[in-house]
């Protein structure tokens, strides 16, 4: 399964391609990884990047490569995600630090969530956020999600479960 191409006002969500390996490695070498497992060498970064593509093959969905439409630069990885051992399917986001403060995470995650609801037929979604990752929690809040509970992940330790409004609640919100 290859990712479709989705667009928002400023962003393009599309398949992960070999040329995204380098910017993803750059992401994994930055302090931005503090909440997603820490910094990684290029070798280890590839071992995280490649499975993102395998996730599409196994699940039929996964993280999108999000690029800034105007420049083609990779902004980050955002999308529906459900690796083995995850408590529930989630909408995840990992953005490169240079794109902070532009609202890109919210814009991309909102589009990915709509795709998960409309195309994959999800009736609900969570986002797992590391306690202390305030900026990510703020994105969840902007998306209308609320902190539901805390859980313990076997590798990542304590995680907050943020619950997104379901498709019905979102469409009711649209019609208001």
């Amino acid at each position: 399964m290859t990712a479709p191409v989705l667009t928002t006002e400023r962003l393009t969500l599309g398949p992960l391609l070999p040329e995204h390996a380098d910017p993803v490695a750059a992401f994994y070498s930055s302090e931005r990884t503090d909440f997603v497992g820490g910094r990684k060498t290029p070798e280890m970064a590839w071992r995280h990047f490649a499975p993102e593509i395998g996730h599409w093959t196994l699940r039929g969905y996964g993280n999108f490569a999000v690029t800034e439409t105007a420049t083609g630069r990779l902004v980050g990885l955002v999308g529906p995600w459900f690796p083995y051992g995850w408590p529930e399917p989630e909408i995840g986001w990992m953005l490169r630090v240079v794109f902070d403060g532009l609202g890109f995470a919210t814009e991309a995650a909102e589009r990915a969530r709509a795709w998960a609801y409309d195309t994959l037929g999800w009736s609900t979604a969570i986002s797992l956020i590391s306690p202390g990752n305030g900026p990510s929690a703020a994105v969840a809040q902007r998306l209308g999600a609320w902190l539901e509970k805390e859980t313990e992940h076997e590798r990542f330790g304590p995680m907050q479960v943020w619950r997104h409004p379901g498709p019905d609640a979102l469409s009711a919100g649209d019609s208001r």
Partner: protein, 320 residues
């Protein structure tokens, strides 16, 4: 079985698929994987399987799932493997325990190595093997690979086994134990330069480098028929180096070409154009099962058209 990229007497080699997950995870969670994909959790094993799948998307090739010809159950994974951080591209093999002791890994590794050299056109290949993995070392040696103590390794406990290059094997199609008696057992690098030269046009035509190739279906394949491959193989072997074994060399190369055109490119048919009077080439074509198709359109009055059997025909003959 239509997914097979390579077939051998007993086996099919195809792209790994989601249905292979369970066997892979059981392997990765066992001590058999201690030198390779060992996973301390199911989640980690699942992640590794995703990597195996994605290697194909990222590199255009990857480990093949090995199955019996008449049963799609994955028995192990064998093939070209070159993740980020590897010093050299690898011929890797992972065998599920129930498949051990039947020569399956050897048979599949030979086919995969043929693919590595003939289709991917790698200059060389190594296998990284744990120093206490005696079965795997035995397989490497049976394949003619040699421990290269000077090569960059993965860890202290890991050995690098270097495989003989394609042209060495083409020139000396004998078991490795007899190679010392072969007149053309020249040092690896020199041999590959010298005898690889005249096969090079067809090798380039059917492949790109490991790094740039997108996927098996995306080769820049020229319209050169198998004839080109056979002809250039013949001319290679007509040189001094191979002496009396030239026919074996040409047929080995031509067979590899046939595997590529029929199994990888899924051609319906292939012919070889051979000049009148070229009895050696006639003999080769006939050895490959091709026949003179007098009704076929030829390119020139003095060229015969030899038509190759389709793999399905060859399989029928083989079972007779």
């Amino acid at each position: 079985m239509s997914e097979a990229i390579l077939t051998t007497d007993r086996l099919c080699l195809r792209k790994p698929a989601p249905r292979d997950l369970e066997g892979f995870m059981a392997f990765a969670r066992s001590q058999r994987a201690r030198h390779t994909f060992f996973a301390d959790s199911d989640a980690s094993a699942w992640n590794s399987f995703c990597l195996v799948l994605a290697h194909w998307d990222l590199r255009g090739y990857g480990l093949f799932s090995v199955t019996a010809r008449d049963d799609d159950t994955c028995l192990g994974m064998i093939g070209p493997f070159y993740p980020e951080g590897w010093a050299e591209p690898e011929l890797g093999w992972l065998l599920w325990p129930q498949a051990e002791g039947k020569g399956i890994a050897h048979e599949a590794a030979l086919a995969a190595r043929g693919y590595i050299f003939d289709v991917l056109a790698w200059d060389g290949a190594v296998s990284y093997i744990g120093e206490d993995n005696s079965r795997s070392i035995a397989l490497a040696e049976r394949l003619g690979a040699r421990w290269d103590e000077s090569a960059v390794t993965r860890s202290k406990a890991c050995r690098v086994y270097r495989h003989p290059a394609r042209t060495e094997r083409a020139a000396c199609p004998r078991p490795s134990s007899q190679q010392s008696a072969c007149a053309c057992a020249a040092p690896a690098r020199r041999t590959s330069r010298a005898t690889g030269a005249s096969c090079a046009p067809s090798a380039r035509a059917i492949s790109t480098s490991p790094r740039t190739m997108k996927r098996p279906g995306g080769f820049t394949v020229s319209t050169w028929p198998i004839g080109t491959c056979a002809a250039s193989a013949s001319s290679t072997c007509a040189g001094k180096r191979c002496g009396s074994r030239r026919t074996s060399c040409a047929s080995e190369a031509a067979r590899a070409g046939g595997v590529f055109f029929f199994d990888v490119r899924a051609w319906d048919s292939a012919v070889s154009y051979i000049e009148e009077g070229n009895t050696r080439s006639f003999a080769l074509a006939e050895k490959l099962g091709a026949y003179w198709d007098e009704a076929a359109t030829t390119r020139a009055a003095d060229l015969r058209v030899y038509r190759h059997p389709h793999p399905s025909e060859r399989a029928e003959e083989g079972s007779a």
